[in-house]
């Protein structure tokens, strides 16, 4: 007997075992409207099935089950929570019936089972997965601003205990099959997909007498590790909020809601806990954080990583040999990241000694990894063997890609680029890691400007996941495609922007520092400014980060831009230039690595340089914290929108991903452009709210907050940036 129930293939064998092969329309199985129909029909059918001996849930897709329907959730508005509450309650009531069918139910997991997919598996009595390297199993809802609302919080705690389940839920870890086996999400592994059904049937055959019952449906079931009355659990629940806050600064509701539900799971029975979980899930769906994380952090991130900004009709290429000019901080970091991805690297500096020192950086990083048990001596030797340090330009001959990463000096760069160009392999590309000089200006030194492009890395290169590819006026699609392929080859996410002063990331980031400087000059308490920068979710306060970048560098960049006649032509950085100039020239405070900047640095900690308050602080200022926060944030948001308006960005996705990974845009924003889509102010929502609030700020603080045309237009059209 074989029947299709809305996309679930229902097949009963002679023995009485029903195999349900999920094959919904579209590339993956997901918890969408079709699923709800198919699942309901299937469960009703199973409950009526005569002589049923067992049930197997399997998938006809390469992934087992992909999880919730995020597109559907993006449309959920505040006030529509009840729809989602009832929807998940309905699905969960069917799940409950499945796990209590009175016959063994097995999940045969042939590929990734994430979110709703794993929840579906957890409502089976037994879970077998095939051991494939690209299978991922876990509950990553938290990374989408949601919580596992299909029983995932409740079942994982009842299955694993609070201590083991919490990290999985709060970090949304995606596990390999063997890791999932180790934590207990799955019960057994088989070598290949073809073994899955046999293993499932074997298990059913061997468990005819009720031994398949879910732990929580057995009499005398106790949550492993104890419930709310256990002292250890009480300690865990008391400490967890603080430990979470340290990571989220209170800006992400989803993990907080997970903790809250987890505490309820410890206090009430299984079914009541499930209802509480449904309510908490429904409360998260319409939040701005969920929308931002889903749209900016997930959809657009996937779009970028799948190559939306890469020219389509050019074949993918692999870089075999990479040349790097300059073995300083950036050059040595690029060398490490490239070698770690298996590329052959020629690391060139003026002297052999300087080049060797650059290579030693990779040795140092590998030693660190070895100490942490993440690599061994052989890994280190293999990686170092890929890097050849040299002082000879000729050693760069035959490189597929040469990146210059020398000091930001136009003449020096021009000279080196001209020398390096003839050494490229056929179809090779020349690139610059500049963050301040226009690509088209640098291109004047080369004979084939179409093969020249900007590849902007972020510091520290080995940790920062973003690459900003800058297309010069003459750069062609081949150069762009190669830069893109190279970025992915070294496991970084590339965004593509057009050549304009400060490109995208540096230009936007400079406004964060500029607004902070402006507030210092206004007399606002510097510590308040720095701390509130962190409170909105920026990784580091603006004054602290300026100390790292160094006031000296800020002064030098301003001078360079003035000499080029471009200072202030894009972002307004005049306040920061003024403050840094005073810091360097009047007070000899050049930055952290120049004896101190806004802060003094002592062994292991920093304190505000007293001179900063003495010279700038006006105790009569009574600033509004919400204004400080939004000034710091909105300068960057507005600058991002200007980049979109001017065509520096060719897509919203590039802007959001670039700001998240390169500038440290707070996670909750989903990127500086996405933030505008979900901002609310008074009765306004989205771009109209942002425009209204910026109008207020511009009246109070200056015209740099006047909304750009693109924002006014979106506000007028009631549209969003996508």
């Amino acid at each position: 007997m074989n029947e299709n129930l809305h996309g679930f293939n229902y097949q009963k064998d002679a023995q009485g075992i029903v195999t349900i092969t999920m094959d919904l329309d579209g590339p993956v199985n997901a918890m969408n409207a079709q699923f709800r129909q198919a699942y309901a029909a299937t469960v009703e059918r199973l409950c009526e099935e005569p002589h049923l001996q067992g049930v197997i849930f399997a998938s006809a897709k390469p992934t087992f089950f992909a999880g919730g329907d995020l597109k559907e959730m993006l449309t959920c508005q505040l006030g529509e929570e009840n729809t989602y509450f009832e929807m998940v309650e309905q699905i969960k009531s069917y799940m409950r019936r499945v796990e209590r069918l009175q016959v063994p139910v097995v999940a045969a997991i042939n590929g990734s089972a994430l979110g709703g997919g794993l929840e579906l598996c957890l409502s089976c009595n037994y879970r077998i997965a095939s051991h494939k390297p690209n299978t991922l199993i876990g509950l990553p809802e938290v990374s989408l601003g949601l919580l596992p609302g299909g029983g995932g919080v409740v079942r994982s705690i009842h299955l694993l205990g609070l201590q083991k389940a919490l990290p999985l839920l709060l970090e949304g870890k995606r596990l390999r099959p063997n890791e999932a086996l180790e934590v207990g999400f799955i019960d057994a592994l088989v070598d290949s997909d073809s073994d899955l059904l046999d293993a499932a049937k074997d298990w059913i055959d061997n468990h005819p007498d009720g031994q398949w019952q879910q732990p929580w449906d057995r009499p005398k079931h106790r949550i492993p590790g104890g419930d709310i009355w256990h002292p250890t659990i009480q300690q865990t629940l008391a400490a967890a909020p603080a430990m979470l806050f340290q990571k989220t600064r209170g800006l992400l509701p989803a993990p907080e809601r997970i903790l809250s539900v987890a505490a309820d799971v410890m206090a009430v029975d299984f079914d009541t806990a499930q209802r509480i979980e449904s309510r908490a899930f429904a409360s998260l769906v319409p939040t701005k954080e969920a929308k931002n994380l889903i749209n900016g952090g997930f959809f657009q991130m996937n779009k970028i990583n799948s190559g939306a900004s890469r020219p389509r009709d050019i074949a993918r290429r692999k870089i075999a040999k990479l040349g790097i000019l300059g073995a300083g901080m950036m050059g040595q970091g690029i060398a490490y990241s490239a070698a770690a991805a298996g590329l052959t690297v020629i690391l060139k500096d003026v002297t052999q000694e300087a080049a060797d020192k650059g290579k030693a950086y990779s040795a140092m990083l590998m030693d660190k990894r070895i100490r942490r048990g993440r690599a061994n001596e052989q890994d280190k030797a293999d990686l170092l063997a890929l890097i050849t340090p040299t002082s000879e330009m000729a050693d760069l001959a035959g490189c597929d890609l040469i990146i210059e990463a020398v000091f930001e000096d136009l003449d020096l760069k021009h000279r080196l680029l001209a020398e390096a160009e003839p050494l490229l392999a056929e179809h090779g590309v020349l690139a610059s890691n500049t963050s301040t000089l226009p690509i088209s200006l640098l291109a004047k030194a080369v004979t084939q400007p179409q093969r020249f492009i900007g590849i902007h890395f972020f510091s520290p290169v080995d940790k920062m996941p973003l690459i900003e590819i800058i297309r010069g006026e003459a750069s062609d699609d081949m150069a762009l495609a190669l830069a893109f392929d190279f970025s992915q080859q070294i496991r970084k996410t590339p965004i593509v922007v057009n050549d304009s002063l400060g490109f995208f990331t540096s230009r936007v980031f400079s406004t964060y520092l500029d607004e902070a400087a402006r507030m210092v000059l206004e007399g606002i308490d510097p510590l308040l400014i720095d701390n509130l920068g962190r409170h909105i979710g920026m990784p580091v306060g603006p004054l602290t980060v300026q100390d790292e970048v160094s006031q000296q560098l800020a002064v030098r960049i301003a001078e360079t831009h003035k000499a080029m006649g471009v200072f202030g032509s894009k972002a307004d950085t005049s306040a920061n230039a003024e403050l840094c100039s005073r810091m360097v020239n009047d007070f000899n405070r050049g930055g952290r690595h120049h004896g101190g900047g806004f802060f003094d640095y002592h062994a292991g900690h920093k304190s505000l340089w007293p001179g900063l308050r003495e010279h700038f602080f006006n105790p009569c200022q009574e600033p509004l914290p919400e204004d400080i926060i939004e000034r710091l944030l909105f300068r960057q948001v507005l600058e991002s929108l200007r980049c979109l308006e001017e065509g520096v960005l060719s897509s919203v996705a590039d802007g959001n991903v670039g700001s998240l990974l390169g500038i440290g845009a707070p996670t909750w924003t989903g990127g500086f452009i996405q933030m505008a889509n979900t901002y609310s102010h008074g009765s306004f929502y989205g771009p109209a709210a942002l425009a209204a609030r910026c109008d207020e700020l511009s009246k109070r603080y200056g015209e740099r907050f006047i909304p750009p045309h693109i924002l006014r237009q979106a506000a007028a059209d009631n549209s969003v940036f996508n």
């Binding site: 929570e81 509450f85 009430v268």
Partner: protein, 409 residues
């Protein structure tokens, strides 16, 4: 310079008295999923909303809770105040006088106001019996043999059975009272008498979890009640009957007449009463509905435990200079049917004016919250009938009794 001195002995007025619906106090009860702090905080928010209250003007929040451990531990009153986002200046205190806690909170609030030392106080209670079970907090009187032996401790159900035995009330008398409680509660609920003061409990999405008391069994019959097994016969046989009989040697045996059907129900619930001075009424634009005329607590034999409501009521009447005839309506907490019957006998009052809308046998007894709940029911009914005075009383652990007299203004 003349110093402003607060006038002592001012009136304590009731501006509002609200409660949650009572949910069955088991895992399948509707309120089981609600955390105790949230249940109480919901009422505080409702008070704020109903009166556009500037919460900074509230001097204190006094909440009864009889099992103040775990989720109900560590001064749950302050937890509620903070979770309700009331002004940071508002303190909170949890108190425990067993089943009197909710009314004790009201009385203390009244005394705070009447003394002139505070102007606006919230009083009430919370008890989530489904989440923090009765008795989970232990206690020396019942659990420490030395103290138990010295004081002649017996569980209160045995005391309730002893009252019935002493008075000669048989199972049918007891069940008849229970049936009346069910019928009255069902009729009052159907007629909407509770709607004004029962605040539906909602979830974080504002989705309603429970609107009305769910413990009432409108279809109760005498036959059904008669079929229930006595709750305390086994405990009695274990030896507790003998402890009681030593004190009441005139009895041959204890008749175990109380069952789940004629004892108060185990439920979840919370209550909150807004009490304040005339000054508070003016400042906050509040309308006094009644004043608290007198309060009393007392105690008698802790072994029979449940006979002090009458003495407490007389004490309050004496303090108020009133007599039984001056009281228009009476509320006695239906911890057990025999307690209510004994109270009516002690006061010489009729069932026609006592617990006219039923009681805890029908609706349940969320220990720490009940006193303030039945105070609110009494006030609503005085207004509905346009009567003047009412008295509310409860039996209390340790042989204590409590009473409060209110008068409409």
């Amino acid at each position: 310079m003349e110093k402003k001195i607060h006038t002592m002995s001012q009136h304590a007025y009731i501006f509002d008295a609200i409660r949650t619906p009572r949910g069955k106090g088991k895992r399948d009860g509707s309120l089981h999923e609600v955390k105790p702090t949230l249940l109480g905080a919901g009422l505080l928010k409702a008070l704020q909303r109903r009166h556009q209250l500037d919460t900074a003007r509230v001097d204190d929040v006094v909440m009864g809770c009889v099992t103040p451990i775990g989720e109900q531990g560590s001064d749950i009153a302050k937890s509620m105040v903070m979770y309700a986002d009331w002004d940071e200046s508002v303190p909170g205190v949890q108190l425990d006088r067993y089943c009197a806690s909710g009314l004790e909170a009201v009385n203390i609030a009244a005394q705070k106001v009447a003394s002139g030392w505070e102007d606006l106080v919230v009083a009430g209670g919370v008890e989530m019996m489904s989440r923090v079970p009765m008795g989970a907090n232990g206690g020396a009187w019942s659990n420490d043999p030395e103290i138990s032996i010295h004081t002649g401790f017996t569980p209160q159900g045995i005391g309730a059975d002893t009252i019935a035995t002493l008075e000669g009330w048989g199972r049918e008398d007891i069940d008849r009272f229970a049936l009346q409680s069910q019928q009255r509660a069902a009729a009052a609920q159907t007629a909407g008498y509770f709607d004004r003061s029962v605040i539906p409990v909602r979830d974080r999405n504002d989705i309603v979890i429970l609107t009305r008391d769910e413990f009432i069994k409108p279809n109760t019959t005498l036959d059904a009640l008669a079929g229930l097994k006595p709750s305390f016969a086994n405990l009695g046989a274990m030896g507790f009957d003998d402890i009681v009989l030593k004190k009441y040697p005139q009895l041959a045996a204890i008749e175990h007449v109380h069952t789940p059907g004629n004892s108060s129900g185990i439920v979840d619930g919370a209550s909150a009463v807004l009490i304040g001075s005339e000054t508070a009424a003016k400042t906050n634009n509040l309308t006094p509905r009644a004043r608290i005329v007198a309060t009393a607590v007392t105690a008698n034999d802790p072994t029979i435990m449940l006979t002090a409501p009458g003495p407490a009521a007389y004490k309050a009447l004496a303090k108020a200079g009133l007599s039984v005839a001056d009281i228009d309506l009476w509320e006695i907490n239906e911890a057990f049917a025999s307690v209510a019957l004994r109270f009516m006998k002690d006061m010489g009052i009729s069932a026609d004016i006592t617990n006219v809308n039923g009681g805890a046998i029908a609706m349940g007894h969320p220990l720490g919250a009940t006193g303030a709940m039945i105070l609110g029911i009494l006030l609503d009914e005085l207004e509905r009938r346009d009567l003047k005075r009412g008295l509310v009383a409860l039996c209390v652990g340790g042989g204590q009794g409590i009473a409060t007299i209110i008068e409409r203004v």
